[in-house]
Symmetry: C3
Subunit: 660 residues, 3 copies
């Protein structure tokens, strides 16, 4: 358990360095990250290196027994590089080189750029490999899937396709290219998806482009990792990821890295609507799930956000500390706060750090000190892990496929996942968010939302999971496509029909219109047997399958909307529509009880319950994720019966941690 | 009367062809359309043709006595063509070649492209000219006015202007180019309208560009028609049109074609607001009006829409059949449903056909069978036509002119036409939507909304129509411009002032603000003498002219808003503002009675009444265009007095047809 | 005092010229502006000049004793120029030449364009220098800061930077370029800000680009002024400015011009919300403040606006005259109405003049005649000036800086200025809007809103003003940056902390969320002690400083929001938040009384009180800026006590003027 900060010595006069390090030490900081954007300082002219200043900065922290993560500065090549080699600048979807002066605007694939990366990384890793305080490296910064459309990348994309399909005829068949005369007679005709209307392009081709773009970034990460690893075998190596427009497949990107690290910036403006979901916890669970082990926060919220967008509201008291502890409760082992002091120059100057521009120790600094103190006392937590019985399957394939072909206004892939995550969280049930290709045998309940694009492996895995006694949740828009993103010619959910015990006769994409549902008795609460749905209605042919909810309106009034089917030793739920929160809670409560997993009774909305353990001891975390004080009684309910009742009062954003 | 489907053999494995054709036959299909996008299959490599598969598909349908429409596949040139001849790719308003991979993205004017079109069309027409089951050809697909800005088109545009104006001085004068130093000293200075702000460009120049763009597409259609006609004199030739952003002048485009065909996709989400207008009927009447004769539907709604946009709601029961019969009621003689089975590949895969991806016969299939049965019994309807006494004048000139210079926020050309069409429809009065240059002598009432751009011919035609006893409706924004799109220096409505018997002192473009009107007693209903208007207020100097409504607010309170003038043997109404629906109904009811035309009393909102006849017999159609069951009593009222009262109950989207 | 019109003889057949001039004469017109866009008529082919028509037009007006302002026609180079020298076309932020055919689309810096300007201006000024009726010249038209990104401008920008910084190291330091490896190793690496996301670029660099762009336009104006001045020493020289997207620094641009002229188009759609501010008066005061002397209106509202946007509502009766007199009340000495007759061709044809396209004398014409009559009787007003005790400081630096870095959603620089201007206007207190670098010694109260970017001079000036007894109003977002646009490392408001007597502990950018304030007793009205604020909350450490308002909500409830500090002989108010109108009025009323300046009691919302004087006599203006008749009693209150009460009734847009 370590709290640290991100620090940019190159941005401050030397006179601040020792003073800053002393204050960090005093606050309780045990690790810093440096060098992320410092290429122009490390190599001011081509092949003229200047590392002395970084040596000094490293030494200052080392003297204070503060560990150091160094970064490969490759996200921001210096101006001389762009001037001399304009061909390494990214090309956008209009076919133009993007304007530089910002960051990240280089073609990851260009051989010239790769050579420059190799030079600077080799210098960096060689210089610090023997420094015991330099414990690891961050590769680049907040990488996205590589959507560069330059000639080099165009050729890479063709190579990707040629390798995958061999002959152009195979590709034409895989894409169904007879539509709109889309058949290629040569690989040379294939280009990246230029233009502003990707929804007009062939979805099979588009899915392959996304796969290529993701693989391209993963390959770039592997390239850097190998460079560093060859020089410094013991160094920890990671890259800091985030939720971005063009997400790479993180499972692939982190495959050979030592751990996942994440840039965690919960929004400081709180929702006022009860329907809004627990997205911070979701994001953290997602990060833990990438490698199914504990992770780092490489950048953690420390002040008002803003810079290219106007500023967000100030952090409420408790937020800085609370959100950091929340990350720990979800599996973070090390958290670096972004950043020590707010930048006084550059476009990011209103993305606030712990200290304001004034350099005066303020409210957030004091809260940060408290946080360090708390965390530095949690030494027992080292080596604890989170073991959950419920998993939600995430799949880059689905994310890409839904971006290519939005199914109905308002339905988004991540929102579907969040809705299920939220419902289990409301009952204090921990959830793993994992790759859809993961081993499912350790789970009791698996939620597989909208498995739109399928393949034989997922079909096999889910069937086996159920056969072995698991409870599986499937939803609408499952089984629609094969691995080529072609529609499967069979009644929905096609390859999942037999395990779900149903077929879909027809569907009604209702969008924002509300549809009333009648719930089966098992799902009713206080005699209330209705719920609301929206967005999508599968009209289900349930025949011999148990029906948990039926539609209350429209021409399919009375048709099954939610079903439950025994299959092998297990059970498959099929949710043919999108429930509102209250309906979802009723449904998930029923499912939890049926599956016999442990849950918590009495949690108010917005209070999270999580558990870390090490086989011997167990730490329970209760976090108030709201700006109201929450007083409540709660207990853990399991098949062995209910625990005793606990009384709890939590201030806004307060975390209670105790060991059993 | 024929019902058919659009079929894409190239998209399905051969094994499906016979099975599909058998099922179509069984359902009652009598015609199919094929080949629309199949260029890459017909000419996989340059000059290497492959027609055997199409021969087989044609034979399969011919064997089953199903007629065939073949399409020229020119909308989607194959990839090899774009690779080899990139100069045939369209150029957009930024001066860049548009991204390909979609459809339609070729320059209609490029000589190289034209040669390729000629080659493939010649092959196609030659091959099937002797096949009796191949009854005709569709040219290309959903053409728009040609807005390509490539050097070839730039030159074509200059030629168009040179031909029209002869000398550059004439053009400068016609455009009023002294404004902003816009004078050209040479035709070579004229370019297409590049850039994103066409409203900043000279409106006279812009109108000529639209005229050129429309003519350019019409000339392309003529080029294809002549090619086919020269080979197969007896073949029916058409092109399928639609309501698109860049509408060509359909009167010009269809001039030499055998009939109009239209792609008819009524929205499946029904309006909830009573003010929303009857647009499906409007669109159908528009299509019938292009050649003032019956037409075809080449693509008819058959399932949920969606693909580049998210999906729309499912079709309500009755919609598939009802909308098809509605088209017949408005003059369609043949209707092809798009499409037999939903595509499983390509960007259009969620634009649903009669059969879903599953290939299971479902609800919509059953409704389609019912439709076929109904229509196949309507043999008597052959050769019936629609004869109306009311015409609304449409003019491409106005459509272009208002796009170039929107007059006030919220006022759109088509909406003005629809409002009048809607009001007559509410009283069961059939309306022809016709070209403004048409012969008007067969009509009793002519509505000429917003004749913004005028010319001597329209001025003459309208005057003569009124002199001969016709009732003419004129509106605000009439007589503003001459044929060069220059403002006329006379009090509005300028060239129409004498027939309208008024002048406009001033106008107030009020936009969305509401303005109260006081109606003359003749227009009052149940003593109610007010109505609401918005968007535009002409302040009318009425003097000796009868006033039907006056403004109730603002500084022109009490001024005339709507007037009525006897002229020659006829009458001219001038509507200086934009009425809400209730006001419009009051006004049109009065006008109908005054003109003595036949109308229907008792129609509920949303029920349409239409008539087809053949001189001897008369078919009456009553269509419930709502999702509620409608029970009502109605009668036809004419100068000869009222018919007897009929009782009617119509289910949602139900059509009642009977012969008298 | 002169009323005139803008006239375009080149747009009308010669037959209209005399008739138009006669009617102008009759209406009371004493000055016309001509030639603004007539380059193609004056030089139809390169170096072939044609001035005879202008000679004739000038003679027609001279004969009628109507003065003439001629314009350099450089805003619209002829088509032959663009065809022959395409390199003079502006380049936009995508690196492409902009589409021509509109106006203003030439690179102000290109040597070829400059030569062409020189040629035509020399011809023009030489031809008319001896004509006594040609009294002056307008340079170009509605210039913006020069954002052209062509290679010539790119080089100019580099020269600007090289001149400013000498060595690249200095620039790197001034910009804090170590962030994101932004360091340049050579000036050649610097380019204009290409791309659509300027908020991602270094704000120090961006501020310099704005400074350069403004200077570039000012230099172009100076270039033209010198050309004219060298030929015609006595001619009045100006340029017509407006509020545009890319405002140049007007203080710099008008430095050597004889007077400011402004294009004044108040919106004709009146606000319905009481919170909406008096922006017309603000704009006029801004224009008077540029040179701190009287100014001209070169284009004044005369009819419905519209052309590239849909049309606005008609002018209410009284507006044409009233807004013209309002301009006089705020310091305009000459007003030219745009335009005599509405254009019948070109893109601007719905930007209405006094006469409509019809050329019929209508309501607006009659009102214009009344206006001329009124103004021609105000001969005594000549040489009167406006002397105010309150100044609001405007700074181009702030405007640019806030555009580069918007601070919070909804907070805009001009809106902040307008809010203070509005509050003083509500109390009949005249306000000068002046450059922040002006001499402040003549004022009692200075409002310095959001001095975000500071420098030593402003710091010194404001301190001295307060020391000498002035009352200064400072606000949130002051003292944030140094002159390089780098954040200052000190507690806010940094360089102003000592005079304000406070520091800001922290800030909360709350955006549209409302925050309740508790006001000190001094600010309460009828016992009401609350007000509302929004957008931004500085949490103030006030200690020994008087607190005028405290926050009523959130975690900083009870903290100071508004303070008052005695410093030297004067006082500094610090407003840490953004008040709603009612709160602002309470605050400003208190401040006015405390400062002892004269104000007016009894003005209804929307009635403006202004004063012009010449040392001996004083003219008072009362203007009803609403569409309701206003009846009210009012009196002037000064330290000498209150005047007697006056009774007043003003019709909509009526102006009462009287001399004391």
């Amino acid at each position: 358990m370590k709290i640290g900060v991100d620090y940019y010595p190159e941005q401050w006069e030397r006179k601040y360095w020792r003073e800053d390090a002393d204050q960090m030490k005093e606050a309780g900081v045990r690790i810093v990250r440096m060098g992320e954007f410092a290429w122009s300082r490390l190599e001011p002219q081509e092949k003229q290196y200047s590392f002395e200043w970084l040596d000094e900065a490293v030494a200052i922290f080392a003297e204070r027994q503060i560990q150091i993560i160094l970064c490969t500065p490759t996200c921001t090549p210096p101006q001389w590089l762009f001037e001399k080699y304009p061909e390494v600048i990214q090309m956008d979807k209009t076919g133009r080189r993007v304007p530089i002066g910002i960051r990240g605007h280089r073609c990851l694939n260009h051989p010239l750029y790769r050579q420059k990366c190799k030079d600077i990384i080799t210098k960096l890793a060689t210089r610090y490999r023997d420094n015991a305080w330099v414990v690891g490296y961050q590769i680049d910064n907040e990488l996205e899937a590589n959507h560069c459309c330059c000639p080099v990348c165009e050729e890479k994309f063709r190579e990707f396709l040629q390798k995958k399909y061999g002959r152009i005829e195979n590709l034409n068949q895989a894409y169904g290219n007879t539509v709109w005369s889309g058949e290629y007679s040569s690989f040379s005709q294939i280009r990246p998806p230029f233009g502003e209307h990707p929804t007009w392009l062939n979805p099979s081709y588009m899915l392959d482009f996304h796969r290529y773009a993701s693989e391209s970034t993963a390959e770039y990460v592997a390239f850097q990792r190998e460079l560093i690893h060859a020089i410094d075998e013991k160094a920890l190596i990671t890259t800091n990821t985030w939720f971005c427009e063009n997400m790479p497949d993180c499972y692939e990107m982190f495959a050979d890295l030592d751990f996942v690290s994440y840039d965690n910036y919960p929004a400081t403006a709180l929702p006022t609507d009860e329907e809004t979901l627990y997205s911070h916890a979701f994001h953290l669970d997602f990060m833990r799930g990438i490698k199914q082990k504990n992770f780092w926060i490489m950048e953690q919220l420390s002040g008002n956000l803003g810079s290219w967008t106007p500023m967000s509201p100030a952090l409420q008291p408790g937020m800085l500390k609370g959100y950091s502890l929340q990350a720990i409760a979800h599996g973070a082992d090390t958290i670096l706060h972004f950043r020590w002091r707010t930048a006084v120059s550059g476009a990011e100057m209103f993305w606030h750090g712990i200290l304001d521009h004034s350099n005066v120790k303020g409210r957030r600094y004091r809260e940060f000190c408290e946080l360090c103190q708390t965390v530095n006392q949690l030494t027992d937590l080292e080596n604890t892990v989170i073991s959950n019985k419920v998993a939600i399957l995430y799949s880059s394939e689905q994310e890409y496929a839904f971006k290519i072909q939005p199914q109905v206004e308002g339905m988004h892939y991540f929102t579907q996942l969040k809705a299920y995550h939220d419902a289990f969280t409301c009952f204090g049930v921990g959830v793993d968010l994992i790759d859809w290709m993961s081993d499912l045998s350790i789970y009791d309940v698996v939620v597989a939302p909208t498995i739109f694009v399928t393949n034989h492996e997922i079909e096999h895995n889910l069937r086996q999971f159920v056969e072995n006694g698991g409870h599986l949740i499937l939803t609408n828009r499952s089984g629609v496509k094969d691995a080529n993103n072609l529609c499967i010619m069979a009644p929905l959910p096609t390859v999942f029909s037999d395990i779900a015990g149903i077929t879909v006769k027809e569907y009604d994409p209702i969008g924002p219109v509300r549809q009333r549902l009648r719930l089966a008795e098992e799902l009713s609460e206080n005699g209330k047997q209705t719920a609301e749905a929206s967005l999508w209605c599968d009209i289900i042919d349930a025949e011999d399958t148990k029906v948990l909810a039926r539609y209350g309106e429209n021409f399919y009034q009375g048709s099954a909307a939610i079903t439950q089917n025994q299959y092998g030793g297990g059970r498959v739920y099929y949710i043919g529509t999108v429930l509102n929160r209250r309906g979802m809670l009723a449904l998930i409560k029923y499912m939890i009880r049926e599956s016999g997993i442990e849950y918590v009774e009495g949690l108010p909305l917005g209070v999270e319950h999580t558990v870390r353990e090490n086989g011997k001891e167990k730490w329970t975390f209760l976090f108030n994720n709201t700006k109201e004080t929450q007083a409540f009684s709660w207990k853990v309910v399991s098949q062995k019966g209910a625990d005793e009742m606990h009384q709890e009062v939590l201030k806004p954003f307060e975390m209670r941690i105790w060991k059993e």
